[in-house]
Each structure stands twice: as structure tokens, then as C-alpha cells.
């Protein structure tokens, strides 16, 4: 799994010569020793004649703990595209004499595979910095292992509050946590949508339960009423029974939903079929946070009409940095970038930013990350507080799905 460690041309040549030296041949040990000596001689000779600009061969090693298999595998596939684009751009010239290399391990969106992947990555690749995971349960599981190895972890996809509370010296999160999102969306639901009743739908994971809890607390404090809280496992496929139960509860104003894309699609369609949400000519507005990728509406179809959700990347943003990213991404992958592509791109660019500020190894990368106050990425800006949580609210963009499935930017933040 994963790409090989980036080697310099001299190292590669020496390695292949050494392999040649250890081949079993009829010449036996004498032949083997000759090969080794030959390899060493060539290597020393090449090193002596190598240009002095060796600084360009210095590499920042990035570990990528991404879900590449299982139900969250779409995270990893899209993250890798964002990483690839960023690395191609950065490695054209390098930063402060450093180039960037990445090795991926499949963390599979689950605590156990993620912990094993983290251990493999640390033991075998020895990265200077790690990005990942996407799922909160997996991120929470890998944090102790990575902190013990004293390697900074940059997270862009997990919203569980416990990731940055009460603070972890080695973990940094560039996306808004569940509290920031939950408080914000519950407040807007109450004030801007005049919602007074809600049904909470969430997957039974740390992130799902945590997100729902924050919405519940904020919404009820403002005067709203939670009519029902419905949690479900990731193995549930058919949501008709759940939609029927919600239909039986009477008129509901909003349905905050916390789940991954696949189940999210089925929930939205089932709620529309049951006539609960606007997409099925019902009264309720479905609300979502950053769990769903770009293109969700096209898959869900008319059922998603009226859906309001936080997206972390606005591809219609007119800032130059975003226009360039969108253009380069389309040219490279022949598709529009999603928030996952953008998140991964920003994670790599943030690492480049700290290297530009003088960081060279795990400790100095950690210190420079902690001091980040004004990094500008394609998803928004980054300023870490003392818990290493990004506190900038410009990473939360509210979008409402129109009848033609395009986005209507609500400009709430």
C-alpha cells in the first residue's frame, strides 16, 4: 500500500547497484563483494561530482492516513486528488529548498484499521507530518499513537469536539468542529428560518451523536423543540421505515441530518417519498453540515430541493486563489473540485506555508502550525486557537439547493 519513499537519483542508483551485488550468481561470494565495492565506488564518485544544490533534494515527508476502502473510501479517493494537485504545484520549484513527498496508508474510516495504519506509517515511513483521518472515530483512535511519536497531525475532515478539546499539542484541525457548526446552524435555523421544531437524524458514531447533541442544546436553549432524536447504524440501507416514523410525528420545521454521503442520499430520497421534506412537497427543511460532498444534489435529484447545508468549499467563490484552484483542478482531473479535494489541497498548502516560514522537521512544523494566524486557503482562512482548532468562520458556507439542483449561497456568515 502506498507510494515508495522518495529517493534521490543517487540513492536510487546506489540501491539498484546494491541489489545487483546481492544477486545469486555462479560467481558466488567473490562476485557479490565485487558488486558491492563497485556500487560503493560509483556512489562515492557520483556524490563527489554532484552539484552543490543538494538542498533541492531535501524532502518533507508527509504521511496520508486516508480511508481508501470501505464505505468512507470516497473520502480517500477525493483527498488523494487534492493532495496530488498540491504536490505537483509545490514540487515544480520546491519551498525553501524542500520538496514534498507523501505515503498513503488505508485507515478505512475505522478506529482499528486506522490505528494499525498509523503504526505502519510511523514505523516504516517516519513522516515529518501526517494528514488525516476523515472519520472522527478513526481520528480519535490515531491521535494518541501520533502524539506519542511526536508528529504533527493535520485534520480537515473530522468534526468531533474531542479531537481538539481540551487540546492536544500535536493535533491541528482546519475545519470548524461540531460545536462551531452545530451552534451556527441551529442559531440560523431558529433566527433565519424561524424553525421551532426539529427531528434529529444521525448515525450512531462519535461525530453523529456529537453533532446532534450540539444542535439539540443550542436549539432548545433558543426556544425550539426537538420532536425526536433518531440514531441509526451505518449498516442501515432502507430508510423508508425511518421516514414513515417521522411522517407520523406531524409537521416538523427542520431535520438536521448527520451521516455519510451514501446513507445521506437514501435518507433524503426516503424523506421526499414520505412527503416529509420540501423535495417531496412536504413542509420540513433538511439541514446538513460538511459531511456531504459536492455533487450530492445531482445524485439525490429533486428530493434534495430546499436542502440547506454547510459546505466547506464554495466553487463559485470569486477569490483568485479559488479560481486558480478550480481551473487547475479541472485541467488535471476533468471535473469540478469537491470540498474534499479542496480540504486536502489546503492541508498540503498549509504544510508548505509552515515550511516557507522555516519549519524543517516534525517539531518545527508543529511549532509553526501552532503560530499560524493568517493562512489563506481555498476553503477559507486558518487561525489556530490554543487548542489548535481553526477559529475562522469563513470556512462555513451555507448553500440551499434550488429546484434545478444548483446552489443558492445564503451568505449567512
Amino acid at each position: 500500500m502506498g507510494n515508495p519513499v522518495l529517493l534521490t537519483p543517487i540513492e536510487r542508483l546506489a540501491h539498484s547497484l546494491l541489489r545487483f551485488g546481492t544477486l545469486k550468481t555462479s560467481g558466488g561470494a567473490m562476485r557479490k563483494s565485487s558488486g558491492l565495492l563497485f556500487a560503493l565506488g560509483i556512489s562515492i564518485g557520483l556524490m563527489a561530482t554532484a552539484p552543490t544544490g543538494l538542498a533541492q533534494d531535501k524532502t518533507i515527508k508527509i504521511g496520508g492516513l486516508l480511508p481508501i476502502s470501505g464505505p468512507g473510501a470516497y473520502f480517500g479517493a477525493q483527498d488523494k486528488q487534492g493532495v496530488e494537485l498540491a504536490l505537483e504545484e509545490l514540487n515544480k520549484t520546491g519551498v525553501n529548498g524542500y520538496k514534498f513527498a507523501i505515503q498513503y496508508e488505508d485507515s478505512a474510516c475505522g478506529p482499528l484499521p486506522a490505528t494499525q495504519a498509523a503504526r505502519r506509517l510511523i514505523d516504516q515511513y517516519k513522516p515529518d507530518v501526517i494528514i488525516g483521518e476523515e472519520c472522527s472515530d478513526a481520528t480519535l483512535a490515531i491521535m494518541p499513537t501520533i502524539a506519542q511519536a511526536k508528529i504533527p497531525l493535520i485534520n480537515a475532515g473530522s468534526s468531533a469536539i474531542k479531537i481538539t478539546e481540551p487540546g492536544n499539542p500535536w493535533t491541528f484541525r482546519i475545519m470548524p468542529n461540531e460545536v462551531m457548526q452545530g451552534v451556527d446552524i441551529a442559531t440560523h435555523a431558529y433566527n433565519d428560518l424561524n424553525a421551532r421544531s426539529a427531528v434529529l437524524l444521525y448515525e450512531n458514531t462519535n461525530a453523529g451523536i456529537g453533532n446532534a447533541k450540539v444542535f439539540n442544546e443550542t436549539f432548545t436553549k433558543l426556544g425550539g423543540k426537538i420532536v425526536a432524536e433518531i440514531g441509526f447504524g451505518r449498516e442501515v440501507n432502507d430508510f423508508t421505515a425511518i421516514a414513515t416514523r417521522i411522517a407520523g410525528l406531524g409537521s416538523v420545521d427542520v431535520i438536521p441530518t448527520y451521516t455519510l454521503e451514501g446513507q445521506g442520499l437514501k435518507i433524503t430520497q426516503a424523506l421526499a417519498q414520505a412527503g416529509v421534506v420540501k423535495g417531496g412537497d412536504g413542509p420540513a427543511i433538511q439541514l446538513g453540515t460538511i459531511w456531504l460532498p459536492f455533487g450530492f444534489e445531482q445524485k439525490a435529484g429533486k428530493s434534495s430541493t430546499g436542502y440547506i447545508r454547510i459546505v466547506q468549499f464554495d466553487p463559485t467563490d470569486e477569490r483568485d486563489i479559488v479560481r486558480n484552484f478550480v481551473g487547475n483542478f479541472k485541467a488535471r482531473f476533468n471535473s469540478d473540485p469537491t470540498h474534499l479535494n479542496a480540504h486536502a489541497y489546503d492541508q498540503i498548502m498549509l504544510i508548505a506555508d509552515v515550511v516557507k516560514r522555516g519549519a524543517t522537521d516534525a517539531q518545527s512544523i508543529r511549532d509553526a502550525l501552532a503560530a499560524t494566524k493568517d493562512f489563506v486557503g481555498v476553503t477559507g482562512s486558518v487561525e489556530f486557537d490554543e487548542t489548535h482548532q481553526n477559529i475562522r468562520k469563513d470556512t462555513m458556507h451555507y448553500m440551499e439547493t434550488r429546484l434545478d439542483l444548483s446552489w443558492n449561497a445564503l451568505k449567512w456568515n
Binding site: Y74, F232, A241, G248, Q263, K266, G280
Partner: protein, 299 residues
Amino acid sequence: VELIPVNAAIVIQQAINGVVLGSLYVLVALGLTLIYGVLVQINFAHADFVTIGAFAAYFFMHLAGGSYLAGIAVALVAGGMLGWLINLSIFAPLRRMGGELPPLIATIGVSVMLQNAMLAWFGPVPYAFETPYSQQVFRIAGIFITMQSILIIAVSATTIALLYVFMKFTFLGKALRAVSQDYETAGLMGINPNHLILLTFVLASALAGMGGAMLAPVLVLTPFAGASVIVKAFAIVIIGGFGNVEGTILAGLLVGLIESYTTQFLAPGLIDIVVFGLLLLMLAFRPTGLISERREENV
């Protein structure tokens, strides 16, 4: 756990939901029970035949521009052909080598291989499998049913009826039952068990493929889609009585109804506790299943 008050319409609605879901489970579980009935072998790759059927229908509709109904037929054929190919190339040679364990382990290997092949070909991003029938909703007195749900029930009922006729009244069906009851004696009576094993595999795989096409609009369609229903299908086969077609049908519908009513009256998070609790009770008090075909215990 708090009980939720409901009206009659909701109770009827959840019964419809349960029958639809149960019909889908039956389509998947029938293949499993057929293979077990004849070969006394558990096929762990069955889930992946379901997924391949779903993808076959999807690509037939989206690349060839075919209709959903024709897509169901394509999935049936794709599943059957794949079953034929894998049986011929992997399972049959292993069976000839003797022993029960190698073919069983091979089904796990085939499952992993198929999942990863699909991951490489189709990618991990969930596909949206829409049919023109999903959006056609009929509403009567507070009860709704989609055309897709009606289609699922109709296809399942037809499949069950055809399978029943095939097993009870055709020569091949009778021969299959003979092999299922006594492999060696059936061979002595002039029946070629290997041909019938191949037929069973093709039939079960075709059913799985068709089940995939029917499930696809309900499933989160990824290369791992089938795996999400297969554990439930195994539970249904055990509850129904391993190798017993009638028991599987009854258990499938029962599990579908249990899931719907658990969601309504308890919580969706408790579905697996209730279903697998029932499974444990069956194993403890009626290990031959709802309808017992074999006299010995299932486990």
C-alpha cells in the same frame, strides 16, 4: 426505551415497508439457501454477486441506455454467467480435490477478489441508482407506496412462484432436490451431481444478480454494497432453516417486518439487537429453523 404512539395508517405503512424490505432480503437469501441445500456449503461471495448484479444493471442503464426492467434481466444473466465462470474455474476444481474446507475458504477469497476488482473498476464513490419508478409515489389515506416498491414485491413473488414450480414440477428441479437429499444415491440413479451443482450455482448467482438490480435503488451502491445485506441474509437463512426455500421466504418477510416495526416502536439502532436476538433464540430453541428440512441441527 420509550414506545412511540401511532395511528393505524402508520402501522399499515410500516407493514408495507417491511414486506418490501423482506422481499428484497428473500431475493438475496434464496441463492444462499439453494447452494447450502445442494452443496451443504456457505457461499461468502454471494454478497458480491449481488453487488455485481447491481452494477450490471446500473451500467446497462447508463452506458447502453437500457430500461430498468431490461437492466434486471441483464443483472440476472450477469450474475448467472459469473456464477458459471467462478464455479467452473475455482469451486469445481477445489471440490474435485476433496474436503469441505478448501471450497469454503475459496468463497472468502473470491469475495475479497471481487470486492477489490470492483473497487478498482468502479471506484469507491457511492453511485446514485435512480429508476423511473422510485419517484412515482401513490398516496392513499395517509399511506404511500412507490412504483419501485410494487415492482420489488411483484418480481419477488414471481421469482418465488417460478422457483417453486421449477423445484416441484420439472425434472431438473426434482433432480436438484434428489441431490440435495442424498448426493451419492442421486448419482447412482443416473443423475450427474456435478451438472446439478453447476446448475445450482448458476441459479443462485443469477438470483443474487437480480436481487442486486432490485436492491440497487435501495442500497448505497458501492463495491461493498452487497456486504451490508449479506449478514442479514445469513441470519434469514438460519432462522428459516438452512437449505429450506419456504423457510427462507417466511424468515425474510419476518425480518423485514421486524425491522420496520423496531424502527417505528423502538429505535433503528436496535434493529440488529432484535434480529440477531431472534437468531440466537432460534438456534437455542429451534435449531432446525422455522421450517425444518433436515433432521439434524443447522449448527
